[in-house]
Amino acid sequence: MMMMSKYQHLYVVIEHEDGKPVPVSLEMLGEARRLMDGFNKRYSSDEKVVAVVLGDNVRKLCEELIFYGADAVIYADSPELRYRRNLIDTKVISQIARSADLAAKFSDGSEFVKPRYMFFAADSIGRHLSSTVLAELESGLASDINKLVIEDLEIKHEHKTKGQTMKYEKTLEMYRPDFSGFLWTTILCLDNRNPAIEREYHPQACSIIPGVFVPIERQVSRRGVIVDYVPKFDEHDLKVKILDRKIVKSVVDFDSHKAIVSFGKGVKDSPEQDIKLVAELAKEIEAEVGISLPISKKPFPVSQGIDSTYMIPDRVIGTSGRKVAPLLYIAVGISGAMQHIAGMKESGFVVAINQDENSPIRDECDIFIRGRMEDVIPLLLEELRKQRPTIEVKK
């Protein structure tokens, strides 16, 4: 019999809207399944993928989560948990993460202290929830991850190991693209083994970028354990009240447009005029306008109208924004950082307008128009108007 670890299993915190899972939840489960299958084979163990669900009337969702790869689902069902409230959610999830009794429902929980790994979504809810849960569990958290590997690593670190080389088994390598889209930083959450600051940090946790990982195929033959947890609420915590919830439609609509025209930092020389040109091009072909991430950080001054219409986070295409797949994608002055490409590579036909033939976008398009957008777009507009199809509908 092998020794049980204090830290076991991979807990995935599921997000849903009234029982309907948000896509990233199934994506996280898929990646968790793949990782733990590899883990169990490699270490001859039987650690579980455990989905954690808070909500009101979510039993049905729990069954779905098993079809999508969970070995076990721990759920807390209460009208108080219908909508997300950080304070209560953090307490309930932390109670679940610390419960050996719950872990005993699907494994030998005798040594269980906390999960080995933990996943959250890197979105409006999960970003904050992961932060507060890991503050409560007093462990490390990496955000916006798009690649995960489990490895045994030799670590030599001034603080963690006091400069000694030590082996850290079953370490989760959490890869995070940086803001430029060109660098990948690998974050590790490691125990302090230096006697002066000795401390264990578990779970190793991260938030995962939506749209990156692929769910596993839904299989109704998959079996798992569903565990009902009755949370303890503190009266005071229930004083945080949700008074109203309104669904808002974004002014940006990528989905119902056949074409998207996006611009990036290439507009820097005369941003006001260039963005107007891009908008004119978009209007001509009834396209929606997209931007690359750096534009949403408002790197140059433009008029208020242009700023509030175009340089807004809602328009960002890429890993930090939306994933799109129009029939026609025109990238104007976009260099082609990995993060942007990830958001548009499924497009049908891709045209790039760029001065620099060496920019990475050249490898991601079907037509690369070399030139200054100030010269190219007016010529394109002229041609578009000349060739514009007639209204005549052919049968």
Binding site: V22, V24, R85, N86, T90, S124, R127, H128, S131, T132, A135, L141, A142, S143, D144, E158, E173, F179, S180, G181, L183, T186, I187, L188, C189, L190, Y201, V240, K241, I242, L243, R245, K246, I247, V248, K258, I285, E286, K297, P299, F300, L327, L328, M338, V351, A352, E357, R362, D363, C365, D366, I369, R372, L379, L380, E383, L384, K386, P389, I391
Partner: protein, 295 residues
């Protein structure tokens, strides 16, 4: 001392200036930190605006706090100009360096306890930093303080009598609609301000107060050192094991260039001044758009 008083604090960060002409990139597209100057981060500026709203509307006392090396006081000065801060706090100690979000939150928590004798009703932070971009430090500080965390806040008001905050939050879920949620919470709260936040001053008296405090802010920021307190580990009563590198669960293990993904396309390069070629590209574009109905 009346029951109607309000104390607020803003947590800010000095960040590389990503605006055009100030940011400098290496040949490989990565940020050249040595050549890029630092300023008050744009999200920190938005948080400062939210604090200024409390000053104008409720006459709140405002403190601005940051953790960083001595140079970070420029962020405090820039924030003071935005929110007419009554106090500026710099938490600075060599041992704070290299901290991850959890260890940073430990310092900020200790710091907020030193503001107004620990009687801060609302702490504001930005949505995320432009350099680190984790968005974790705010909520982790809130949790350590024991304050209710309200994220993505686009609007808020305070009822000074009942000591309740009402806030609107903008929630975006992948593949779903966006939601604006209105919440109510007892003070104290920690608010992380959404990038789309805009303070609105609707009444004449608010606009007058706005002008008065703006003038005051300008004068104060010119003499910001008078308002500045620098606090180290000892003055903050911090356990050194919980901050800096020793207090950070996470480390950066490696940094590498993201390998180029396999490309599925092979581009034809077209000269952008050649009318004939552009005519051909235009025809291709109309072809892929196919059944597009042109009005």
């Amino acid at each position: 001392l009346t029951i109607n008083n309000l104390n607020v604090a803003v947590i800010v960060k000095l960040e590389p200036d990503f605006s055009e002409g100030n940011v400098s990139y290496n040949a490989d597209g990565t940020l050249n930190r040595a050549e890029t100057k630092s300023i008050l981060g744009p999200h920190s500026a938005i948080a400062s605006n939210a604090a200024f709203y409390a000053k104008v509307k409720y006459g709140a006392r405002v403190a601005v706090s940051t953790m960083g090396p001595p140079i970070a006081e420029t962020a405090l000065q820039q924030a003071q100009l935005l929110c007419d801060a009554d106090e500026l706090h710099l938490y600075s100690d060599r041992i704070f360096a290299g901290a991850d979000t959890l260890a940073t939150a430990e310092v900020l928590k200790a710091g907020i306890y030193k503001v107004e004798g620990g009687k801060v009703d609302i702490v504001f932070s930005g949505h995320r930093a432009s350099d680190g971009e984790t968005g974790q430090t705010g909520p982790q500080t809130a949790w350590k303080l024991g304050y209710t965390f309200l994220g993505n806040v686009i609007d808020y008001d305070v009822d000074l009598q009942s000591r309740l905050v009402r806030a609107k939050r903008l929630i975006s879920l992948q593949g779903f609609y966006d939601i604006i949620e209105e919440v109510e919470a007892p003070l104290p709260v920690f608010i992380s301000v959404d990038p789309s936040y805009k303070a609105l001053f609707s009444t004449v008296s608010q606009r007058l107060a706005f002008e008065k405090y703006q003038k005051e802010a300008k004068a104060r920021a010119e003499n910001y050192k008078q308002y500045l307190k620098v606090l180290n580990t000892q003055q903050l009563d911090i356990n050194p094991k919980l901050v800096g590198l020793p207090g950070s669960p996470t480390i950066v293990y490696k940094v590498e260039r993201i390998p180029k993904a396999k490309t599925s396309r092979k581009a034809e390069v077209v000269d952008g001044t050649d009318h004939e070629q552009l005519a051909r590209v235009t025809a291709m574009m109309y072809e892929v758009l196919g059944g597009m109905v042109i009005k």
